[in-house]
Symmetry: C2
Amino acid sequence: MDRVVVIGGGAAGASAAARAKRLNPAVDVVVIEASSMITHAPCAIPYAIAGIARGEMFTYTPGEFERERGIRVMVNSRVTDIDVDKRIVHVRRGSVHDKLEWSRLVIATGAVPSTPGIPGTNLKGVVTLRHPAYVDEVRRVLEGTGRVAIVGGSYLGIEMAEALLSMGRRVLLIEKEDRLMPAALDTDMSEILASELTSKGVELHLNEGVVELAGGDRVERVVTDKGSYSADAVILATGVKPNVELALQAGVKLGSTGAVHVNEYMETNIEGVYAAGDVAEKHHRILKKSVWIPLATTANKEGQVAGANSIRSRAIRFPGVVGTVVTRFFSMYIAKTGLSTREAVENGIKVESRTIKARTKAHYFPGAVDVYVKLIIESSTERVLGAQVIGWDHAVAGYIDVASAAITSGATIEDLFFLDIGYTPSTAPVWHPLIVAARVLSKGRF
Amino acid sequence: MDRVVVIGGGAAGASAAARAKRLNPAVDVVVIEASSMITHAPCAIPYAIAGIARGEMFTYTPGEFERERGIRVMVNSRVTDIDVDKRIVHVRRGSVHDKLEWSRLVIATGAVPSTPGIPGTNLKGVVTLRHPAYVDEVRRVLEGTGRVAIVGGSYLGIEMAEALLSMGRRVLLIEKEDRLMPAALDTDMSEILASELTSKGVELHLNEGVVELAGGDRVERVVTDKGSYSADAVILATGVKPNVELALQAGVKLGSTGAVHVNEYMETNIEGVYAAGDVAEKHHRILKKSVWIPLATTANKEGQVAGANSIRSRAIRFPGVVGTVVTRFFSMYIAKTGLSTREAVENGIKVESRTIKARTKAHYFPGAVDVYVKLIIESSTERVLGAQVIGWDHAVAGYIDVASAAITSGATIEDLFFLDIGYTPSTAPVWHPLIVAARVLSKGRF
């Protein structure tokens, strides 16, 4: 029996399965997925709710995966127990119990919403965004609502604010920290985002902790430590946590972040057991330590690595992440890579930073919009450690990717300044905003 | 007397002057410019002719440069001789002759059009694009024309094709090589561009050398080695050459490319004499040799370096270029960085490449368009040496900048595959096209 069993058919699980089968078609590869969907794209949820996204929120149906890839897919199936000694997983589908032997196991159980421990979260009208499968349900909950509160001002909260405004709702957003996207943005950049939300009509409450969702049968009010606000529905966008329950049961070791500890081969502490995607920790290439940043792109690559190594042991390493994230709010794109000032300070790194405002095209070219670029450098070495970019053009996502590449390579601001960035009047000013930001930080040295 | 004299007020000259004055306001800085304009942007010319560009094609007027920067600007003034021994330049403005002492000299005389040595180029209706100052003249020449021929299928030719089509002209484009943008694009990528030109109505003649421009007083026909085509006007977009005449007179050494030879400090062979911008050679960071790629972005940085070093000797080095270029044809953006296959072969480097077709956004997100990504790697090391990207979204310019950063850092395809590139459904697919191209080249290794 030579079988790779993958628990979870999301980004990491599907990638791992596809990779394993591709490398050795003779191996039996089985994906066990709790929902009815594989290769699902949770990033699509806000756009699907708003009706912006079109078509399916998955890449393959289970049937296609089976026919085109030769991978067995068990949907609506839950692994109830992992027996590490006998190398068996116990699976339940409805009332049917089954067991499956494995020679290699990939745990890709993803993340689950982390909802606040406050009264009222189970009232009608309170929504937690879990899975593309629940989009229609969320749309039904939002039917007929006028004023909707979002709890949480990170990516999902921002994206849901766009979605709800697009649907004609009045929107209230409550964030317990002093700024939006506090994990990614420094205060100055976050204020630009806050001002955009406010200008589009979002009622913003920062520095407010939600203490209760109140109502009768259905939610009517959000009560915070500073006030009480009426709401016809409440979206909980308070983050996610690694879905480690099953891994823990099996004796798989977690790291200090609370996610499954893996090495660069995506191996857990148990031989033959890999973990990939949101359930696992990631190595941070700047901080040189484990972090937990759950993202689909990383999950895909980790799945690829775990799948490859499940067939050819230690064939490939996952070098880690630098913390690149990007989102949008209508026409505004918000992106970050590397360390924020807070992350640097928390890790004892002395940094300097500057923020510049520039334009996205040559001054004479129509369609130019504003872009803000913040660069964060290590004071002692002038190495670029972080970048934050906000601009009204989707092209600014490319800025952050350039910064990510530069940061990954250990570039200093001088290296960044001299990067051979392309120019034509319709794509950038002749002095690219990233180059300008690097120059400004050099304090006249170049 | 402590004076920096800069010959040429374009990108390199203006940057050099600004930098020098900034670093030491006590130094007298003088810019001598042959036209009436400084900080002019020749990249704007096609868009200005078409009426797409708005506002001025310069960043500063001479007056602003004087008032705001404290830099003396002599416009409509030509340097007729550089006396290296006495450290004097002779300047002529109209009938007035003058001379000016210098302690440091920056030669930034740029490039001049390289027109083919064929009969008829001085007929009426034949246009060479030289300088933003001549845009109105070009527009007058094009008045009342129906069918216009462009000679030369590189950037300027492509951009002029867009300009002329926008102006309602019928357009004929003649290129002597077997493909468009032959210096930048491999055949497969060039064919995608050619097909776009054809689909917009451009009559394309590749592999045809122009032998004569024929007509009476005004041009009427373009005669090639394969045919004869009627044209009411002819745009010569046959490239540029370094404007080295003055440098040569002064005894400044040229390199094998025919441009002024400079070291990493932008020093020429004559002490105290710098060269920057299109007049100078550039160090190619991959080929480790001098090349001549005339671009405004490079000119700006070289000017910055020459200006800084004219004040603080050898304060800063210019590390060179990797050959990044980007242009557009209507909504299609065409970009290249690093080596093309031809450049690699010509330099004895064994390479492999793959081209992939992908989409610019998540499959369910509206507004996604096609993008083609070609990666070229060194066979022996798997180092990424070149990238070519064509897509119908200006965001693809960012792809080439990422590739440029990766190439500059010596990244392999594995490094590129694992780059932490950002993702949100509206800016990229979850597997970014660059990552997919890297994966395809790995032949199943990852």
